[in-house]
Symmetry: C2
Subunit: 326 residues, 2 copies
């Protein structure tokens, strides 16, 4: 079975680990291809940093800090402290000493001319994530956030909004700078076309999944794919499970609830990207109208609180896909 997923950072990474491990524990041999968001990427201190790709790679490769959910376990902060002591560059980004090695290698390979998908593959040779991890594009795409500034607005990098301001500045709009001329990385469209199942993990609908969809060709490929597309709600009981998806959803006029996100994605029968939607059991009633609009629904405990529950919900997406295929 060929499974293709889109993925942002922490939520996507945990879902993927559950999927991989749930499949490995069962009978199903599967090839999993992950199309990772790169619009969160940022250049800091001359280094190219890909937070979402790294979260997936570290989580699936066993290097993640489980408590923070991002960055490396047994991390140190000496380099970051020193950069701050020099008073040089932003001090709000969590640039760990171990993590630095990944960025140094990526930056050097970029300088040598390698495209991001090859660099990602090279880094994954160490981590052996058990999936094929592809960046959504080799081209530069950057999410900028338009925020109020006096009487007007200004645009800041997504990381500045997310990490420095903790999404506390009201977002007027999100722009994926560069997206209009970006091309899907090699393998991305093929993975969508040839998949038996396509999954959207509970990643941020706006700045993770939305950013991936901003790359021309990807949305069309999803619409045309023969595989069922099953999404997992990132919202439980009207609140984001993790992160600050509500601050993103409100900027695009989508209520923070499980059904509204599904409606935002839309049913494939109405030129959207969803065939099925997994909601938490607390949201089953609220999602009752979705099947009437072409989106099948299943309800499950969606809190990825431990490996067993995470595997259970990941496998539930496959069960829903199986139902739809019948």
């Amino acid at each position: 079975m060929r499974i293709t997923t889109l993925a942002g950072g922490i939520g996507g990474a945990r879902f993927l680990r559950g999927l991989r491990d749930g499949l490995a524990a069962g009978t199903g041999a599967a090839e999993i291809t992950v199309i990772g968001n790169t619009a969160d990427d940022i250049d800091l201190f001359g280094l190219r940093i890909c937070p979402d790709l790294d979260s997936v790679m570290y989580t699936l490769g066993g290097g993640i800090d489980e408590d923070r959910g991002w960055g490396r376990a047994d991390e140190g902060w000496r380099a970051k402290d020193e950069l701050a002591a020099y008073g040089y560059g932003p001090d709000w980004f969590g640039l760990g000493d171990r993590d630095l090695a990944t960025h140094l290698i990526r930056t050097q390979l970029r300088t040598a001319g390698y495209p991001l998908h090859e660099i990602t593959a090279a880094l994954c040779r160490r981590w052996e994530p058990g999936v094929v991890l592809l960046p959504m594009t080799d081209d530069r795409v950057e999410t900028h956030v338009v925020v109020p500034d006096g009487d007007g607005t200004r645009a800041i990098h997504f990381q500045e909004w997310w990490v420095r301001h903790r999404a506390a500045l009201p977002a007027v709009a999100f722009h994926q700078i560069g997206a209009e001329s970006a091309r899907p990385a090699p393998g991305v469209l093929e993975a969508i076309r040839e998949a038996d199942v396509i999954l959207l993990p509970p990643s941020n609908p706006v700045v993770s999944i939305g950013a991936i969809l901003s790359v021309p060709g990807i949305r069309d490929a999803l619409l045309a794919a023969h595989a069922p597309i099953i999404g997992v709600s990132p919202i439980i009981g009207g609140a984001p499970v993790r992160g600050m998806a509500d601050a993103c959803l409100s900027a695009i006029g989508v209520p923070t609830d499980a059904a509204a996100v599904a409606t935002h994605y839309g049913a494939r029968s109405a030129s959207g990207i969803l065939d099925g939607w997994l909601v938490d059991t607390v949201d089953a009633e609220q999602a009752a109208d979705l099947p009437g609009h072409g989106i099948a629904v299943a309800a499950r405990d969606l809190l990825m609180a431990d490996p067993a529950r995470t595997q259970d919900l990941a496998l539930a997406t496959l069960a829903l896909a199986q139902e739809l295929r019948r």
Copy 2:
């Protein structure tokens, strides 16, 4: 009093600290300008690393690891371990987590187009070394070491020879690649011309002082300087005080003894660069012939074992200069 010194790494840095602190403890206000060796510089992991400039900056700025003599105190090695775990790049270079911040800033400023002397000044604004630290040149000069290889030879970067092989491969020759077209950094020739005293600390005569002298114009400026030039022997009792100067001296046919190094530098009266030479008391007898060849000699305990002794020997160079001026 304007004092100008050449300097390599650890030995030069400790001498300079003694000089600065000895002067501060006494009555003499002095402006000290240090012309640092940059031929040990190396690019690793896309970072520009200047070991000798950093040793001077960290030592005078209070950031040095006193036991190792190089790199930062309270250093960590997570990034280095990770680079090795990726199997990427050389694993023999001591790239500490704190140290990395210096290299990141330097590299980013270089990429932005700043010359090394301005970058060095920017880094020194944090460290306040109490001296003006100048690179010998803004241009790229690299010491390569010719070593045996099968029936022939090959050239390796000085750091590979020094750090990786611990100078255990016999050195056939040293080449300062790029020196012929390098220009002294702004301020270097002026500092030599306008000095009241010029000092050569007990740095490596071949790959530190020799490398600085390889930059066209510097040797001529020393020859023409009105200030007396006083050197400190890096050899005590036939052995280098620190480092592996003997392996360098033998490659250029100079015996590892205090008098031979002075003769190698030569008296200014014979187109060399020395007016005076400080030797250890154990070498006083051996150096007895030098005055007859135009090099005044003073003998002192040269082991920089503690701050008091280091200050004493540093001030002794000034006393010898004073004698020569009379």
